[in-house]
């Protein structure tokens, strides 16, 4: 019989490396998928989910068992993903300025290659969906990802986001309404 999370956490807190490895094995795929939902990039998702395990490892002694290990881990991971988004937004704002400058410099010298129509149509939807998700405020996006992609209940999302269930419902409703408007052409 497999030991429960709490038992493994207890062993890991006492320095049992095997117990911690078992926790990693148990949650690494879920962690990766959540991180991928936020980052939409394989390498970034790997780094973010690994960062969550590292943070769990270094703060394992502070876990007091008031919530389940799963919820605690989710919260850490989601916070890391939100930090990543904030950093990315700042970086992309700077990149955007640089790219605009480069475009202005090269526009008079070269004509951009015309992509095949099929390729353009296939990529259009993915880009629009990505942009629509990116445009959502952080809390709406978090609530939406945890519900739509991960299938968490409203209650679980509220615990993870450390907010009221009513607030989660509002975030979710606004996220869906915004996405519906932005992606109406795909309905």
């Amino acid at each position: 019989m497999n030991p429960g999370d709490e038992e493994l956490v207890g062993l890991a807190q006492r320095g049992d490396a095997k117990a911690f490895e078992e926790l990693v094995e148990r949650y690494k795929q879920k962690a990766y998928r959540i991180a991928f939902d936020f980052a939409r990039d394989r390498e970034e998702a790997k780094d973010l989910s690994q960062e969550a395990f590292l943070r769990v490892y270094t703060h394992l002694r502070s876990f007091d068992g008031r919530s389940s290990f799963y919820t605690w881990f989710y919260r850490i991971l989601v916070n890391i993903c939100l930090d990543y988004r904030r950093r990315k937004k700042r970086a992309s704002a700077e990149e955007f300025d640089e790219a605009a400058e480069r475009r202005m410099e090269s526009s008079s010298l070269s004509v951009p290659p015309v992509a095949p129509e099929q390729h353009a149509i296939a990529g259009q939807m993915s880009r629009k969906v990505g942009a629509a998700l990116e445009a959502l405020p952080a809390k709406q996006r978090t609530a939406f990802i945890l519900k739509n992609h991960q299938g968490l209940s409203i209650k679980e999302i509220a615990v993870t986001m450390q907010t009221a269930e009513g607030t989660v419902k509002v975030h979710l409703h606004r996220a869906v309404a915004a996405l519906r408007q932005r992606l109406a052409e795909f309905a």
Binding site: K28, K147, H173, A177, F186
Partner: protein, 173 residues
């Protein structure tokens, strides 16, 4: 696409949030019954629900990495954990200095050192009011004066002795 704009305008605003919860299966009891009843008679809300069913799954971009990815994942994570363990071990020494027995011991040692310093090393720590040579001169001067006094007294004693010896000789003669 005018059709979608129309549906956006026509959807029952007071039920929009419940429609979202209904889509995700988060409504229960009377609220769920109410929305089901409403959906049977409201075309725009049915269309809204249908749009959610078409659009929202598109936002999920699944990724199934190959087995090699997970092998690398485990190796990298093990490496990062061992680095974290070393850092953690290094930092752990600092709190160990503040264990229950070390603080009183360190405090006692500090008190002893301070007491010895103030007791044995008091002289050298005091700043002299005057230069050393002057201080010695001031201490020696009274002694020198006394010495002169004693010398004078010795001469007088000697004179007294001579007088005494002279008077003795006279009386003997």
């Amino acid at each position: 696409m005018p059709q979608h704009n129309e549906s956006t305008l026509a959807v029952c605003e007071r039920l929009e949030a419940d429609l979202v919860l209904h889509y995700y299966g988060e409504l229960e009891g009377a609220a769920e019954s109410r929305i089901e009843t409403h959906l049977r008679s409201c075309e725009p809300c049915r269309r809204y629900l249908q749009e959610m069913r078409s659009i929202l799954p598109l936002t999920v971009q699944s990724d199934e990495p190959p087995q090699s990815f997970w092998i690398d994942y485990n190796r990298e994570l093990r490496h990062k954990l061992s680095e974290a363990k070393q850092n953690k071990f290094g930092w752990r020494h600092i709190p160990s200095l503040f264990q229950s027995w070390t603080l009183p011991a360190l405090a006692a040692a500090a008190v002893v050192i301070l007491a010895l310093t103030f007791t044995l090393g008091r002289g050298p720590w005091l700043a002299p009011d005057a230069p050393m040579s002057e201080e010695i001169f001031l201490e020696v001067l009274p002694l020198a004066e006394n010495l002169e006094f004693y010398r004078t007294m010795e001469v007088l004693d000697a004179m007294d002795l001579l007088e005494f010896m002279g008077s003795q000789a006279k009386s003997a003669a």
